[in-house]
């Protein structure tokens, strides 16, 4: 019995032996290395969206932003200004008609000014009806700024706010892209001894226009590019073969025979 066990131990391949075989069989991995089709640099965008605040009014937002892209992953949305045009829902008038009561009006959001850090960890492409390809990126923004609220009786109030949310960008070309952003906003209001937090949700669609060729982080980072075309070698090997220096009519002067 002991002999059998010993034989089995000797015959059984050890873990490291298996690893060696697997290593031997592993023969590389194929990766498609594409040039990045679009490079964002200075991005200006205009946007429109909605801020569903409460049951009495809906904010229709209009705004614009400038984003400085530091790399393909990191960007700084230097400012993002969103004006909220508040539209009353019918609830207030219905309450007045039905019960003759008017709800107490809270201050309403007037505009948001935010500065954010944007990270784009996901980049990819999708086949559109098997006929074309569209490139897209998914980003996340984290930032802060001020939110301006105004009520009927109260003065304007500037409240500090934090915002966070994801976004999806579809590239329409190097210069133009469209993006959909969802942002959760927390505005902080110090009332007496307590801190009240107003939560808002903002979704908006933007058209972005991209300008520039070189990123701020790439300044002075000149890369040597081989601009030769291969024809230089032909000039070297066969002097006089460059058509710009020879007479166009060919063949007639040849004296080859059959």
């Amino acid at each position: 019995m002991k002999r059998l066990l010993l034989a089995a131990m000797l015959l059984a391949p050890s873990g490291s032996a298996w690893a060696g075989i697997e290593e031997q069989l592993r023969s590389g991995e194929i990766i498609a290395v594409d040039e990045r089709p679009y490079r964002m640099i200075h991005e200006f965008s205009v946007s429109g969206g909605v801020i569903p605040t409460d049951a009495y009014y809906l904010g229709i937002s209009l705004g614009g932003a400038y984003t400085l892209h530091l790399s393909d992953i990191w960007a700084w949305e230097a400012f993002n200004f969103q004006y909220s045009a508040n539209v009353s829902t019918d609830l207030e008038s219905e309450l007045l008609e039905a019960f003759e009561v008017t709800p107490e009006r809270d201050p309403r959001l007037q505009y948001l000014l935010t500065s954010s850090l944007v990270v784009t960890p996901l980049f990819g492409k999708q086949a559109v009806l098997n006929k074309g390809i569209v490139f897209q990126g998914v980003h996340f923004a984290l930032g802060g700024g001020v939110a301006n609220f105004a009520g009927d009786d109260a003065d304007d109030a500037f409240l500090p706010q934090l915002s966070f949310g994801p976004g999806l960008r579809f590239f329409l070309g190097q210069a133009v892209s469209t993006r959909l952003d969802l942002r959760g906003i927390a505005a902080f209001d110090a009332v007496a001894d307590s801190l009240e937090v107003e939560f808002l949700f903002h979704s908006y669609l933007s058209f972005s226009f991209n300008f520039g060729k070189k990123r701020a982080t790439e300044l002075g980072d000149e890369e040597l590019v081989d601009e030769s075309t291969g024809y230089e070698k032909l000039d070297e090997l066969y002097p006089g073969s460059d058509p710009s220096v020879v007479v166009l009519r060919e063949g007639a002067e040849d004296d080859d025979e059959d």
Binding site: Q24, L25, S27, G28, E29, I30, I31, A32, V33, D34, E35, R36, R39, S71, D72, I73, F123, G124, I133, S228, T229, G230, Y231, E232, K233, L234, L237, Y238, G240, S241, D242, P243, S244, V246, L248, R249, E250, G251, A252, D254, D256, E257, D258
Partner: protein, 535 residues
Amino acid sequence: MRTEILSAALLIGLATSAVGAPQDEETFDQPTDFEEEGLDGEEAPPPAEDGALDKVTGEAAVEADAEDIQGPNKRGAAPPERFEEGLRAFYSDNYKDAAALMYDYIATNEATVENYEWAEYFLGVSLARMGYRHAGAEYLYNVAKNRTRPEILPEALIEIEKLFREPHDETLLVDKLIVDSDFGFLPDYISAFVRYHQGLSDLRAGRLVWAKRLFDQVPDDDPYYPKALFALAVQKWRANKTAEAVRMFRIALAHPQARRELRNECRLALARVLYEREEYKDALKIYDSVEVPELSVSEASLYLEKAWTSYWLRDFRKTMGILYALEAPSYKDFYAPEKYLLRSLVYMNLCHYIPAKREIRRFRFRFTEPLESIRQRIDLREDAVLRRAALQDGRIGRSADFRRMLAREADAIDFVGGPWIETGLDEQLRMIYGLAIEKSDLRLGAALRDQTRTRAEELVEFEEQMYLLDYEVGLAIYRRLRKEDARRQTEEDDLSIPAAGDETYFAFRDEFWNDELDTYDFFIDNRCFDAGGTE
């Protein structure tokens, strides 16, 4: 030492087979789609004997004309008004009625009747515009060949020139009409077309002086001029006058009238010149500037040439990436036994011996059937792999395209009916296409016999090289290594992927994206202990 000599011999052989001899126009061909019915596998035309071919090819067009003149349905002679009616229909773009009326006119009248030749001309043009290109070509051929009304000749040749843009009956239109006819004076706008094809035919037959004389009649500013230059350049290259050939290729490439296809042929030729001079880096740059139809056989062939060029540059990752692209479903019928050889060589250079041997086994597995067919001495035309390989390029590839076109056009006759049946044109077209298909099959069968044999010889040669390589790999496994020869790590050994940058990295997951095929990179480590590798 013996191993090194064997390797060198093997690789020299490979280089020759990869680039081959300078090629003539036939090798710069349009893609062939092997998927279509009729020429694929078992459904292909039956092999034929040369004797039978000769009998049919010489008489086919004449038979069709004779049938035209006699009239298949023995109706009364159509009055001259029928021709005028047909003319009105033609100029109203009603080609269906125009064809029927014109056919009625020529089928029921003698060839001496007034406007007979014009009726043939309008019949040919109407058929061609309706998509019955071969039938149109047959009638236009009659007009141009008989030349009983010389004023129609240039018009007929213009229409024939248009038919040259698609697959066409080269024997009928080139050999029998253009080459075999003395057209006399032709206006400039059509004479270049005729002189170019006549010159090309002389060039192919080795009559260089005659070819040059004809090419000299092509005006400098005509699109056929750079084509003629290209043809002469190929001839120079074949005659080992590479410097002159390069000069002419470059002139043709820079010519303002050179079309895109021709420019690409010139670039390909120049890249091959540099490859032969072992200037691989520059050759690759010119290869990269060649534009070929996407997912075509031409593209697959270009990939293979680029793979060889990358191999000699010792860019094994790129070489393997290109070879991997050839596995895409679009290229599954592309015949290239050397891709297994090249992959095995790359693995061996990187000291991945098991994968190297695996590629050799894959070659044997893939080509078991054709190799067995060769050993069994069966008719090679019956082997599907060799047939497909033979049909891949050259004149035979164009013939196969033409055969497919004939089948499509013959099928389309069913959808017309009406006046075509009443006048007998329907029946006449079926006869023309039946005969043309028969002839085409005979020609293909005869050409296939030679071409499959050539392919079989190549395959046997590759098999021998594979055996040699297998032996080489076996030796390399047990090669003695010396500590002092240990290899230093280089930049090429760095396989890390940056998180950001100007490039995106999509790992391959069994899904070929057409836009990625030329961007594949093979991430593989170099396992060689020493720097030697395999040359």
